[in-house]
Symmetry: C2
Subunit: 193 residues, 2 copies
């Protein structure tokens, strides 16, 4: 998605430790016009797939998934990272390890929001080692629903997540795949589509 | 907002401790069509106000604020509840006490995303004692920006938040104000508009 890559080149900030900061337009301040284009692009890429529901994980996936769900005309569910007193009833759970926060989270979705046979599109802002998406896929499959696809805004192509999912046969659509980042020259190399 | 009140009557669930669960359509699973109507209604109510930016707080405000920002044609910023390694630079901070989770949070916004003189609309899903909105207003005012208004989906009118803000002169627009909830008869009484 050329518009997104241009924006990452212009406003993305490289930091030590392979960190790519996009917090001025994606995951702290959100450029809603850009997020709309991202939603449209997910719809274009998954146009041939029947999607019953979109699943994401708090927090930075929520805004993207909410706007994307408009284009699929379906509900959106966001998984929670820890038990809340406002969650009750049966829960679907998975454990994920966060690259950003260097800790393990419990990811929770109320089981009544994922039904057997539903086709569910996983949406998230980043994929690095794929742990968050894997937790969401485990939750979907434990409910006997189908992972219809995984839509990622920015994939770190030099980490293993995307490769692992594609090898397992999941359909992953990443709108920008970063193959390398060079902090010294401040350059980002995207994978050719 | 009649559509919202009808939906709360239909799908809201009362729990002990004055808890109103709306997690099947607002803050776990999101009915995106309803959230769109909520966004339009916020725009209608604040149509006379110039809004430069929308500010909310993770997590359950994000989807509502993102969709609402479409109708104001402005960026959206979501405050974070604790320090992340991906946040750096100067921060604006406030402390808030969560009614739901019974703990105190640090609320953080990177200062470069709130500029002096900007007119900022605060959006959140619930207002009870008003602590979350107060933290966001403190952050806005500490940056010498203006709180253009506070838009709340569901206000618990029997708690003090809304009253406190209105007495201080803030413009609060709540789309549904719950004046009382009766767990035994399973009835919710909304304030007349």
């Amino acid at each position: 998605m050329e518009l997104l890559k241009e924006r990452i080149r212009k406003d993305g900030v490289l930091k030590a430790g392979n960190v790519l900061k996009v917090d001025s337009f994606i995951n702290h301040q959100m450029d809603i016009a850009l997020i709309n284009e991202i939603g449209k692009e997910f719809k274009r890429r998954f146009a041939d797939v029947k999607i019953d529901k979109i699943l994401t994980i708090e927090s930075s996936g929520i805004g993207i998934a909410a706007i994307t769900a408009q284009y699929f005309d379906c509900p959106m569910v966001f998984a929670k990272k820890s038990q809340s007193i406002n969650l009750d009833g049966t829960m679907l759970c998975a454990k994920i390890e966060s690259f950003t926060h260097k800790r393990v989270y419990d990811v929770i979705v109320a089981s009544r929001f994922i039904s057997p046979g539903e086709n569910i599109l996983v949406i998230d802002d980043f994929m690095a080692n794929g742990c968050a998406a894997q937790g969401l896929c485990e939750i979907i499959e434990s409910a006997h629903a189908n992972v219809a696809g995984i839509g990622i805004v920015i994939e770190k192509g030099f980490q293993m997540g995307g490769k692992m999912f594609r090898e397992k046969g999941y359909r992953v659509e990443s709108l920008a795949i970063v193959d390398s980042m060079d902090l010294e020259t401040n350059t980002i190399t995207f994978r050719e589509e």
